[in-house]
């Protein structure tokens, strides 16, 4: 019994030690340097988050035990002890740390710190996921389609309350200045992933059932209703979170690196991969149908869930395409280029991979076998990759249209070509090593020629695919080198001194001049609102010096060319 208390004692010691450390650093904070401030913020952020998780878990467990049907009878003393310990240590601990934190946050400049924004973002990440998972499993239990989950339900409720309190009350009282879009973007991501997974699963299940009912004349399979309801519940929960966090918040914020990462990587890339993988599977099923040994009804039973993936992926992709390319001007910026290069990359990988499999199938057919089953499957799979990947690549990379000079010089294009070169070389080298291994093994072992070819056809296919892709892109890169290398006169580094918020102006300056932009805030002045982006760009116009100081103070914007001495 006593032994079980040691971990708890350790937690208590850690918490007390952490508070003491934070207070001490805080007391010394009067004359602290920037490093001291950063260390203090990191320690208090972690401490605050840790205590919040302990306290919320303890309260949720207590509530779960009190719920009708709670596990109080089944589990006994251990659970009650744990819930009590977490609550008794966590709640006062968090209250103390929170009182300290609010005092600190009221100091000027404190809510500008990155640590505060990271804290709020982590709260959304941890408590957002906990709320969704807890509530869905809890509701499934309550309506009788899932296993007993009283703790999950109380966790969903308590963690949900903590999350909502942080978003609505804490976030608006101490609005973070750095990365303010962190919490809503992470919340949107949780909602989008949950809703997409739920809807794809629910529709897939529905279509599969419909297909089975039509082709085999069977009644609905047992458990269909429960599983369908559960998937639908995930979809509803995800949509609710997404509506609140995206449509209600992040949608209206300025574009930033984090927000673009969300729209491009999760929305565009994730949606496109989901939709195109589904199309690939459907194309494969069609191509392979004339050759399969299996019954056709059985052969096509993979298609219904793929149609669900296609519909959901397509909708997600098109919606985020509309968001990313909302303003036509975006097309000629890194964001617009990144949109097209991401899709070009997806198409290229699918097509090149498909080509590799086609080469593999060709070699397989050349080697005389003594027995084969479903030998055309390999070819059909490769062709499906090619058929799906090529049009996507063609429409987004537009190989017959000469790129503009802005596009050739853009960071997005250089990154795309570099990543392709790096990834291509890596894949090529690995397949070459595997190929050599198979070749040498066969020769040293004295295997017949057919066996050796059979051993190396897969890496040889990959090598052919990557070689053609690599050769094409190296030629492109070399033909553009002279354009990309030309020095454009104009600033490389811009320092913006302002009393307002500079997000839009920074982005506009970066995009117009491809320069590094640093922002300095004038101290002792209240936020004077956003800096006019167009005026800032105009002020720098015509300056050919390498470094520029932009003063955006008192409503006036002035650009001063400077140099380091």
């Amino acid at each position: 019994m006593i032994g079980g208390l040691w971990p708890l004692a350790l937690v208590v010691l850690l918490v007390i030690g952490g508070i003491a450390l934070a207070r001490r650093i805080g007391r010394e904070g009067g004359g602290e340097g920037p490093e001291g401030g950063t260390l203090r913020r990191v320690v208090t952020t972690l401490l605050l988050l840790g205590l919040l998780i302990l306290a919320a878990t303890g309260v949720a467990q207590l509530l779960g035990l009190a719920l009708p049907g709670g596990e109080i009878v089944r589990r006994g003393a251990g659970d009650i002890a744990q819930a009590l310990a977490l609550t008794i240590v966590g709640v006062p601990g968090f209250a103390l740390a929170w009182r300290y934190q609010t005092r600190v946050l009221e100091r000027p400049g404190e809510s500008r710190s990155v640590a505060w924004s990271i804290y709020l973002t982590l709260v959304t990440l941890v408590f957002g996921i906990g709320t969704v998972v807890g509530l869905v499993n809890g509701i499934r239990w309550v309506v009788g389609v899932g296993p007993r989950a009283s703790t999950a339900l109380s966790l969903g409720v308590v963690w949900g309350a903590v999350w909502v309190w942080h978003v609505l009350v804490v976030g608006s009282r101490f609005t973070p200045v750095r990365i303010p879009e962190g919490p809503p973007v992470v919340g949107s991501a949780i909602g989008l992933v949950t809703a997409t997974t739920g809807l794809t699963g629910a529709l897939g299940l529905l279509f599969s059932e419909a297909y089975a009912t039509m082709t085999e004349e069977v009644a609905l399979s047992a458990g269909f209703g429960d599983e369908f309801f559960s998937l639908l519940l995930w979809f509803v929960a995800g949509t609710a979170v997404w509506t609140w966090q995206w449509l209600g918040d992040a949608r209206h914020r300025e574009t930033s690196v984090l927000r673009s990462t969300y729209t491009l990587v999760l929305g565009v890339f994730g949606g496109a991969v989901l939709a195109l993988t589904a199309v690939g599977g459907i194309v494969f099923a069609l191509l392979d149908a004339p050759f399969t040994d299996a019954d056709l009804v059985e052969h096509f039973d993979v298609v219904p869930p793929l149609i669900a993936g296609l519909i959901v992926g397509w909708a997600v992709w098109r919606y985020h395409r509309a968001v990313v390319l909302e303003h036509p001007a975006v097309l000629e910026t890194d964001t617009g280029f990144a949109y097209h290069y991401l899709l070009a990359g997806v198409g290229l990988v699918a097509a090149a991979g498909g080509l590799g499999v086609v080469v593999n199938a060709l070699l397989a057919a050349l080697v005389p076998a003594i027995e084969t089953r479903n030998a055309t499957r390999l070819l059909a799979g490769g062709l499906a990759g090619l058929v799906v990947g090529t049009p996507v690549w063609w429409r987004t990379w537009r190989p017959t249209v000469a790129p503009s000079e802005i596009e050739i010089r853009s960071a997005a294009r250089r990154i795309y070509l570099t990543v392709l070169a790096g990834l291509g070389s890596l894949v090529g080298l690995i397949s070459l090593i595997i190929l050599m291994y198979g070749l040498f093994e066969g020769v040293i072992d004295g295997q017949p020629f057919e066996t050796i070819v059979d051993n190396i056809r897969a890496p040889l296919g990959v090598l052919v695919g990557t070689s053609i892709v690599g050769w094409y892109h190296v030629r492109i890169w070399r033909s553009e080198r002279h354009v990309a290398a030309v020095e454009v006169p104009g600033p490389r580094a811009i320092t913006l001194v302002t009393t307002g918020t500079a997000g839009a102006a920074v982005k506009a300056l970066e995009e117009r001049y491809h320069a590094r932009v640093r922002v300095l805030h004038r101290t002792g002045v209240e936020d004077t609102g956003p800096v006019d982006a167009d005026q800032a760009v105009q002020a720098v116009e015509g300056i050919e010096d390498r470094e520029v100081l932009v003063l955006a103070l008192d409503g006036r914007i002035e650009a001063i060319p400077v140099e380091r001495v």
Binding site: G354, L362, I370, R373, A375, L378, L379
Partner: protein, 153 residues
């Protein structure tokens, strides 16, 4: 300007290479029936017949080609037939010495996602014995086994 045309030529080259590979692959895979019929009285021919019976689910016929056809054993479906996807078997070394022979084959299978073209191979050996002038399989490698615990009384 030759530089402006060079990307076009690159594109034509790449597209042509892909098109040729695809057309040749389709032609070869669809026209070539590359399953060789081996002499049924040779060791490798017996192995081919055995595998054919096993893959068609005809375990009794397959067993008749073994030295233990009359022994008691638990009949099982061969593991290889659980594989509903691609199966390719290529003949390796055939080593005959007197009344015993070893036949090596490479078995390549794939399942799961057809778009990835993922396959795996294994080299296995059949051991044969000449009984009354006919080759019979004495030792069956694992994915083709249809008779388990054959030494049970």
């Amino acid at each position: 300007m030759s530089e402006a045309r060079s990307p076009d030529r690159t594109l034509i080259g790449a597209v042509a290479a892909v098109a040729i590979i695809v057309v040749v692959a389709i032609a070869v895979v669809l026209t070539g029936d590359r399953v060789v019929e081996l002499d049924p009285s040779s060791p490798e021919g017996v192995v081919q017949q055995y595998m054919n019976f096993v893959l068609d689910g005809d375990e009794e016929e397959a067993l008749a080609l073994t030295t233990f056809a009359d022994e008691e054993c638990t009949r099982v479906r061969a593991e290889i037939t659980y594989q509903e996807e691609t199966v390719r078997i290529v003949l390796g070394d055939v080593d005959v010495s007197g009344d015993r022979a070893d036949v090596d084959v490479t078995v390549t299978r794939s399942d799961g996602d057809p778009l990835s073209g993922y396959e795996w191979s294994e080299h296995v050996t059949f051991e044969l014995e000449r009984v009354d002038g006919e080759w019979k399989i004495d030792e069956v490698p694992w994915p083709f086994v249809v008779c388990e615990e054959r030494f049970l009384p």
